[in-house]
Structure formats: C-alpha cells, structure tokens
C-alpha cells in the first residue's frame, strides 16, 4: 500500500466525507441551538432535548417505534435465519433459484411498492391497520436482510461439526440449538440489530400500513416538518441518528470480533510452536 499522503488523496477524502456527513453534522449542531430559529446560531443549549421529554406525542411515537422495531426484528430474525438455513443446506431442491431470488428481491424492491402491496393485502383480508400491520410490514421488509447476514455466516460453518454432533448421539433439532446456533449467533445478532435499525428509520412502508394510535417516530417527524422545521426536530433526529449508529456499530463489531479473536488465538498458538 502507498503510505505517502498526496494532496489529491487528502482532498478526495475530505470532499467525500464532507459530502456524506456535513448535512448530518449541521443537524446535530443546530439541535443544541438556544435560538428558536433553525438557521441562526443563538448559543449552546440542551433545552430542545428537555422539551422533547415533555412532548407526549413524540414520546408515544418513540415508544411505538421501539416496540415495532423489537417485535419485527425478532420475527424477521427467526424467519430470516430459517430461510438462510434452507438456502445454505438444501442446494438441490426444486425451484431453489426461484426461492433464493424471491428471498432477496425485497432488498431491491422499491419501498413504495412493498408498502402499497402490503396495504392492499391488509385491506383485502380486512385486517384493521394499526400497530400489528406495521410490525408485519417491517418483518417483511427486514427478513431478507437477516437472511443475507446469517447466510454469510453459515457459509463459513464447517458442516462436519454438525455431523460430529449427530455422530455423538445428538438428534438434529438439539444439534441445531447446541452446535449450529451458538456458532452462527454473531450473524443472527448482527441480523437482528440490522433489522431493528431498518425498522427504526423506515417511513414509507410504515406510513402505508399504519393506523390510528400507531404513529412511528419517522411518521411523526415527517408530519411535524410539514409544519416547518423546529429545533425540536433536530434534537429528535440527533437521538435517532445516535441510536441507529450505535446499532450498526454494535452489529458490525459483534460479527467481526469473534473472527478477530479467533485469529489472534490461532496466531498465539502458532508463535508458541
């Protein structure tokens, strides 16, 4: 690798990151603005955060969002893990290509279409829209992400580990819980975190499928913005960004840490001879 830093590299780096993060940085900075005017800096203050705590509508929306996130991420993790197992294990069943294509299609499906189709489904079966329809919709949205993450973990799993467990007298279902699941757990946890954060920041699908009493935070923010941007929105957005950043970082740390630790231990054994 080239270790010398040329002015070109530095410039590209600065421009690239500026493009990505300056808008977010401005939002975060202005969330600590004492002034009520969004674009005028009036000194540092955390008053908007305090005000948020007293805004019941926002607290309610946050609570709905968290519950939707936890439930849909959990459902998506179970379904996504099952799909990943099938895709990894049964590589010769009829229609495998179609099945795997269908599992991954929602990754690139326009959210408007996913949202609309779910809405039509709920209307057709006469399911009242509300909290549970958002949970189901988010499960649909996020399970394919879980499947991708878990499958990448399964690919590196040595199948003879499961065979060894069977050979030692452990029935298949027990083998899954004693051997397979602990070994793919980092992937499963990372999948859950990813699903949770995706659910937190989804606006389109949620707004199609929500109903009375099930306003999520992104929907709430969006409706507030239509009445004008307030510092309060900056504050809540900052919190949302932090939660999502922490989620994504934790997910990637979990999925990488076990690998790094394993390599470190192996190196130690190698050096010890």
């Amino acid at each position: 690798m080239n270790k010398t830093t040329s002015w070109f590299n530095v410039t590209s780096l600065v421009l690239g990151f500026a493009f990505l993060y300056v808008p977010i940085l401005i939002l975060v900075v202005y969330s600590f603005n004492a002034s009520k005017l969004v674009t005028v800096w009036g000194g540092f203050s955390s008053r908007w955060y305090v005000e948020l705590l007293h805004d019941e509508a926002i607290i309610d929306a946050a609570w709905v969002t968290i519950r939707v996130g936890i439930l849909s991420a959990s459902f998506a993790t179970v379904l996504g893990t099952m799909a990943a197992l099938v895709l990894d294990r049964y590589n010769k069943f009829h229609g495998r290509a179609l099945f795997s294509g269908m599992v991954y299609a929602p990754l690139v499906m326009p959210e408007v279409i996913t949202g609309l189709s779910l809405l039509l489904l709920f209307v057709a079966v006469g399911f009242d829209r509300g909290f549970w329809t958002v949970v189901i919709a988010h499960t649909t949205l996020t399970m394919c992400f879980v499947a991708v993450v878990v499958q990448s973990r399964l690919v590196t799993l040595d199948r003879s580990l499961e065979e060894a467990a069977l050979d030692l007298g452990c029935p298949p279902v027990k083998t899954f819980f004693l051997i397979t699941l602990p070994l793919i757990l980092p992937g499963v946890v990372a999948g859950w975190m990813l699903a949770f954060t995706l659910s937190l920041d989804d606006l389109v699908i949620a707004s199609f499928n929500t109903g009375p009493g099930a306003t999520t935070l992104p929907i709430k923010i969006y409706s507030m913005v239509r009445l004008g941007v307030t510092p309060e929105i900056n504050a809540i957005s900052t919190i949302l960004i932090s939660v999502i950043a922490v989620g994504v970082i934790v997910a990637s740390v979990i999925s990488h840490r076990s690998q790094v630790e394993k390599e470190k231990a192996e190196r130690a054994v190698f050096l010890a001879g």
Binding site: S160, L161, L168, C170, L183, A265, V269, G273
Partner: protein, 383 residues
C-alpha cells in the same frame, strides 16, 4: 530411547476362522450420486477387534463407504449389517459407531473437556461418571493439562488427540477414522500411528480407517482393502497385498514396482516363462493368482528391492538376467535406488540397502550392470 508399553501383539487372523461371523458386513452395497457410482456392488466383511484399512486414491469410494456405515449416506442398493443387525433406516445419532473426522470437527465454542463429554451427555450419563470418563480419556491421549482450553488454543497434534478422545469416549463398537493423521507432519504421524495401534489393542475395539497413505495403512492395520473406482481390488494383510498383488492396479498402487510386458511362452508347475520383446529377454516367474495360459499377454512384476544389481556377469545359463547401464542413482540414506536403462530403452529399478558407511559406492553412473533375481521373486500379472 522409546520404551515399549502395552501387551505384545500376537498373531490375529479371525478372517481365516470359518466359525467366526463378521462383525461388520457390507452386502452388495451400491451408492450412486446422480450418474456417478461411488460404490459399486461391494461386499466386505470386517471382524471384531480388527484394525481394517480402506486404501485408495481420492474418489475411489472409500470415504463414501465409511460415511454409509456412520449413517451420513444411505446405500442406493444393498445393506450394511453391524453385529448381525441391519443398519438401514437407523439415523447416525442412534448408531453404535463413532467417527473421527478428517477436519477433527471439534466444537469451537466448547473446551477440550466439553468436547469429550458431549457424546456422554447425549447418552444421559450422570455427571460423576462423565467426569471420570473424561479424565480417563484425557490421560489416554496425554492431554490432562489442556482440559480447560478451547480448540483454537491447541496445536494441530493436540487437536488430533482431542478428536480421538472425543470419538473414543462413548466406547463405540466401531471407531471410524477418516484420514485421521493427514494434517500431521511425518514424524508426529509415525508416532501417532503406533499410538493408535496401542489404543486399539488396549480398548479392544474394531477400528476402520480410511486413508490414501499406503504406509499408514500398512503400519496400523490388520487387513487392507485396496479400492479403485468403487470396487475392492484386493483384500489382504499388508504383506499379502505387497508380495502377492492380485492385479496390476494393486501392484502399481502399493509401493514401487517394475512391470515388464510380454507373452507367455510356457507354463509348468506354476512357473510361467514370459518372453518380452521390449527388453529382449526370457523371464521365469510364479503365475500368481490368475489363470495364466500359453500365448497370453501378461506382465512380469518385481519389486525393486528384490532385484540384485552386479557389475559382474552371472555364469552363462542363469535364468532371469537383464543387462543395461546405470542411468540414475538416488541416494536415500538407508537405501540407494539404481535406475538401470536396458538395451531396449526401458528402465528397471533396483534398490540396494546401504550396509556400509562408504561415501563412494562401487556402482556408479554409466557402469554396465547385470540385474538378476530368483524365480520366486517376481509375479506374473495378467493384463
């Protein structure tokens, strides 16, 4: 010095005893994967307490045969009997056999102890018995100090021992070993081979080993089945297979061999006379197992160590003489390999044990030499 431990090994040949029933029986077993036939109508008997080796190149079906016994694959046709009981339909977790995997397949999230205890826990054994058995196994493989380590904190040789201990812990009726020593270096592999033999005698189990390493198979096992393309080319003890190969494939696969093609010109009292145009010589040798008729195209097979090499011409009238010049010499320490080029251009190998400490050997490059051997040193193999 290495000290001898354990009982002295005695002659063991249950396969010669017609009153004994085989312990494992593969009965007309065929296994197909799509169009590919991995095992082709194979019948094989293995006896109790036998150390049996399946030997062959990769893709010969030896691993498939073992995996069918373990229950990971089902025979397409035929059946497998263990102690007289048909194993078909019995899943791997209910079979009284355990397997040591080529990759060792140690559970990375469990300690050495946890790995060894895993099978015992599945049996529902009580904790104190499990602890006793685990301690016993750890001392058997000399890993007492490593009980609390995780597999990734062990060296390759130590992992191999944990895998062995884990597969032995349940005292299976049969232990299956899939290329168990493939990942070890040569010295460690040789030591471990003898340890495996000691353990097998000590525990009185039946061992079935799959290997592509002929030295390994010959060292550890009582009998060897040489496999090729899903069938058994020959079954026998190491010396039977080496000294009396049934086919050219076996002769060629096991050890080093010189093969001289020719036409049989006479057969008398089990001795055939073979005339070879390629080396322009007449060779007399035992006919081996096949039916050898006059006029048949056949090959004469002789191991290099049974060929005597000399600078002096043998007395006139001596049978089985070839002459040529030394083409190449390989000095391997204990032996030297001479590659002798005959008049017709073909090469015959002869090995000589280096019994003295001379640095300069009497026979050297381009010397004219004579190759001789007794009539019973080689064997005639049909094409």
């Amino acid at each position: 010095m290495i000290e001898a431990v354990g009982p002295i090994k005695r002659k063991f040949a249950p396969w010669d005893d017609p009153t004994l029933k085989p312990f494992i029986r593969f009965e007309n077993v065929t296994k197909r994967f799509g169009d590919f036939t991995a095992v082709d109508n194979l019948t094989l008997d293995i006896y109790e307490r036998e150390f049996f080796a399946l030997l062959g190149p990769s893709g010969c079906g030896k691993t498939t045969l073992m995996r069918m016994l373990a229950g990971f694959e089902q025979p397409t046709e035929g059946r497998i009997l263990l102690d007289g009981k048909d194993l078909s339909g019995i899943p791997p977790y209910k079979r009284p056999v355990n397997m040591m995997f080529q990759s060792y397949a140690l559970f990375p999230h469990m300690t050495v102890e946890g790995n060894i205890a895993f099978g015992l826990k599945q049996e529902g054994m009580d904790t104190s018995s499990i602890n006793t058995r685990v301690a016993e196994m750890l001392s058997l493989v000399k890993l007492e100090k490593f009980a609390k380590r995780k597999p990734h904190q062990l060296s390759g040789g130590q992992r191999q021992r944990v895998a062995l201990a884990r597969s032995l812990a349940k005292r299976p009726k049969v232990l299956l070993l899939d290329e168990p020593l493939g990942a070890l270096d040569k010295k460690l592999r040789e030591e471990t081979q003898f340890e495996l033999m000691d353990i097998q005698v000590e525990l009185g189990m039946t061992f079935l080993i799959v290997t592509h390493d002929q030295e390994e198979a010959m060292t550890v096992s009582d009998r060897i089945a040489v496999m090729n393309h899903g069938i058994i080319a020959q079954i026998g003890t190491a010396s039977e297979i080496y000294e009396q190969p049934a086919t050219r494939y076996v002769a060629d696969f096991i050890g080093d061999i010189n093969l001289i093609d020719g036409t049989v010109s006479a057969v008398k009292d089990g001795i055939a006379t073979l005339h070879s145009a390629s080396v322009d010589a007449t060779i007399m040798a035992e006919t081996g197992t096949g039916e050898v008729a006059v006029g048949a195209e056949a090959g004469f097979a002789i191991r290099p160590e049974k060929v005597q090499i000399s600078l002096e011409a043998p007395p006139a009238g001596t049978p089985n003489v070839l002459s040529g010049e030394v083409w190449d010499i390989g000095y391997l320490g204990d032996i030297s390999v001479y590659r002798v080029r005959l008049a017709g251009g073909s090469i015959v190998k002869a090995t000589v044990a280096n019994l003295t400490r001379m640095v300069e050997r009497p026979i050297t490059w381009e010397d004219k030499v004579y190759l001789t051997w007794p009539a019973d040193a080689g064997i005639i193999l049909l094409k």
